[in-house]
Structures are given as C-alpha cells and as structure tokens.
Amino acid sequence: MQVETKISINGKDYEGEVEARTLLVHFIRDVGGLTGAKVGCDTSQCGACTVHVDGVAVKSCTMLAVQADGTSVTTIEGLADDGDLHPLQEAFWAKHGLQCGFCTPGMIMAAAKLLEANPSPSEEEVRHGLEGNFCRCTGYQNIVRAVTEAADAQKEGAE
C-alpha cells in the first residue's frame, strides 16, 4: 500500500508516495539521498540509524516513514552549521573517536541529545547515555573522550 508522506529532512521537504512498510531510515537514505544514517542491525540495538525526529533521538530503523509524516528530521548531514562542524564532529575528529566510521553518525546524533540534557556528563554518564549505540572498532575509549571534549568545548563556547 502506497501512502503519501512528507518529511522535512535538515530543513528541506521530501514528499512522495512510499510503501507503508518503508522504514524512516530507508526514506532518509533512498528518498532523501542522505546516507549518513546506517542500517546496522534488525533488532533496534546498534543505534547506527539514530536521527532526531522533532528534536528527539530516535532509531530510524524502528520507525516507519509514515509514522514520521509531517515531522522535521535532523540527520548527521544537518548537524554542521553552515559548513562549521558541530563541536561533537570536531571532537570525534580531534580525539579519533572512530575507526571504520559506520557507527559514527548515530553515535554523534545520540551524543548531541545526551549533551543537550546534560551539558557536563561524567565519563560514566557518557557511557550510560550511549548504551544504545554499538561500536565494534574503538572499544569506546576515544568515543567517550570525544564526547567529554565536546562538552568542554561547548561550555567554553558559551562562556
């Protein structure tokens, strides 16, 4: 069954008929052409597909595109501000918070919401806050360092 669906992704409207079974992540990748969000698992565990739907972190592989009809979605491609990398993107680069990079878009989108809710997280709070995002390369050490660095950078920026 085809359903008329309109979703704003990173400020641009994407509209069309999609099959009802289309997952939001497939809408973002196939209709939006934005391949940052990844499909990593079938079980809602890995978090590689994490995006923001109306400002809330969501696993876009566990939401149908039709459920997101009328919403505003932000993906990793929409995080930089007019070419200036987000502090988390800078910190993942500076601290080498990635190896293969597959988990990174989801990791950064989840971390962005973590820092919004808690601008000064402890290492334990970072690990706890990212428990829905799996990385199979880094052992998480540099990811945690990157998030902590981004938190410090955001605080300095605010001062």
Partner: protein, 288 residues
C-alpha cells in the same frame, strides 16, 4: 530486513481505532512500534494492516487522582522515567522505565505497547502485576477494566480481545508505610530482563502488614510470588526474614522456566531468588 507489505491506517481517536480494527482483518495496532516493528523486520510478524494509534491525544499523559495514577497507554518510557508525578505517586514505575532499552528506545516505546506485547523479558508487566495495576481497554462492546494479574496469560498473550484498544493503565498510588522497588538482571546487549523482580511492601509498627512480589523473565508470563509474600507478612523485614522469604520463590516458579542460549531455566530460577531478595531489601529500606 524490510517488513512484508502491509496496509496502513491512521486513527485519530480511540473510537476510530476500534472501527478500523473491526474493518480490517489481521490488523495490528501500531503505537511506538518498538515491539512490533522489530518483529515485522524479522518477519516474525506480518500483519495485513497496521492501525496507527500513535497520534491519538486522548490516550497520552499522566494524571494523579487521589489514590490512583492514570497513565495513558501512549505514554513513552522516557516520560514515565522523568515524571515527577510518578516519582512521588508510584516510584517503582520510573525506576523500571529508566532501565528499559536505551534512551532512543525509551523515546518511542510506550507503556501500552509494552504491556500489550507481553514479552516475558519485558519490565513493565512484572511491575504492573506487583502493583496490582488495572488495564483499561475499549472495544466494540464498550469499555472494560482488566486486573494485571489476569491480563498476562502466556508468552506474548494477553486478555485483550482482537478488537480492543488499550487506553490507559491505572496504578495504585503509594501509601504511607509502603516501599516499592524493582531489581533487574540486564541482558548486556538487548537490555531486556533476563530475570527481574518487583516488590511492594507495607510496614506497620515495624512489621510487614502486606507484601506483593512478582518475578519476570523466568516463566512465560510474570509470576506472582505468593509463597514469598506469605513468608514476609507479619514479620519484621530484616535481612534474615528477607533471605528466607526470597528462597521461597522456588515454590512460586514450579512451572516450565524459559531456557535459552543465554540463560538456562535452572540459572533463571537461581537468579530469581537473588533478584527477589534485592528488590525486597530496597523496598523494605524505602518503607522506612
């Protein structure tokens, strides 16, 4: 994997959802989708139609009226976990909700979907049984209330009829002298409960006047631990009494235990005693 082809209908009210359920054979309700969509992706579920109830405003939100906390079926786990009203009126619910999945899962998963899905490894069914919650449902024949103790019948099987929509969950508010706690062994990857225990104790004059304990993850539905409750009632809740009562959970788990590659039935039974003891210890401390 892509889910199988499916028809989609969006309901704007409970009445419309009931009508759509009646009109569409082999249909499933879709709320947050965090139980159903993974099943559809694995092709363990392939309903002919989905009735999306996720935007129905009348079944969202939390309201406290006297001795009852009414939680709309669409209330998400993150709302449960952060609700000040629930924290003061029924603190075991935010305690358990904060342990469900991960932040993104809690942002979408709902209490109604969670209870209706009735996964034995889930958290809220165990809490609902220990609390003696009441589940409200609306169907073609009107509204009805179902006690949590009668609601969970078997593996992913509840007392809800095919044509019914769960609308709310009514939780009894905490009373003076009561303490409640939830203890859970987390599966390290999925965060589901391998074994969990929910306990509500009422202490009067230094002794346990009433206790309600439920165990999840061991049998196909939450098990009420009536032997544990009997061993507590009338006694001071010290470590010795709690340890002794927790050991009695073996009598309450006499049926077939879930047995899988991660945890054998024998292991789950052994851990049930440990987690009942932990839940009771916290609940007794909180009862003061």
């Amino acid at each position: 994997m892509y889910p199988a082809n499916v028809a989609y209908h969006r309901a704007s009210s409970v009445a419309e959802a009931v009508e759509l359920l009646a009109e569409n054979e082999d249909s499933k309700l879709l709320a947050g989708g965090h139980s159903l969509i993974p099943l559809m992706r694995l092709r363990l579920a392939s309903p002919a139609s989905l009735i999306d109830v996720g935007r129905i405003a009348e079944i969202q939100g939390i309201s406290v009226c006297g001795d009852c906390v009414c939680v709309g079926a669409l209330t998400t786990h993150s709302t449960l976990a952060s609700s000040c009203d629930l924290q003061s009126a029924c603190p075991i619910v935010p305690e358990a909700a904060a342990l469900i999945g991960d932040p993104a899962v809690r942002n979408r998963g709902t209490i109604g979907g969670n209870l209706a899905h009735a996964d034995p490894a889930s958290d809220l069914p165990t809490v609902a049984v220990a609390l003696g919650a009441t589940i409200k449902a609306t169907g073609p024949n009107g509204k009805r209330s179902i006690c949590a103790g009668d609601f969970f019948q078997d593996l992913m099987t509840t007392a809800l009829d095919d044509g019914e929509v769960m609308t709310a969950v009514c939780l009894p508010a905490i009373q003076a002298g009561q303490g409640m706690a939830y203890a859970k062994m987390l599966h390290p990857a999925s965060r589901y409960a391998v074994v969990s225990a929910a306990a509500v104790v009422t202490v009067e004059d230094g002794r346990c006047a009433a206790a309600s304990v439920a165990v999840g993850g061991v049998e196909t539905a939450p098990a009420k631990a009536s032997s544990v409750e009997a061993a507590l009632t009338g006694n001071a809740l010290d470590a010795g009494v709690i340890a002794c009562a927790s050991a009695a959970v073996a009598d309450d788990l006499a049926g077939d235990a879930i047995d899988d590659v991660f945890a054998s039935g024998e292991y789950r039974r052994a851990m049930a005693e440990v987690y009942v003891r932990r839940a009771l210890t916290s609940a007794a401390e909180r009862a003061g």
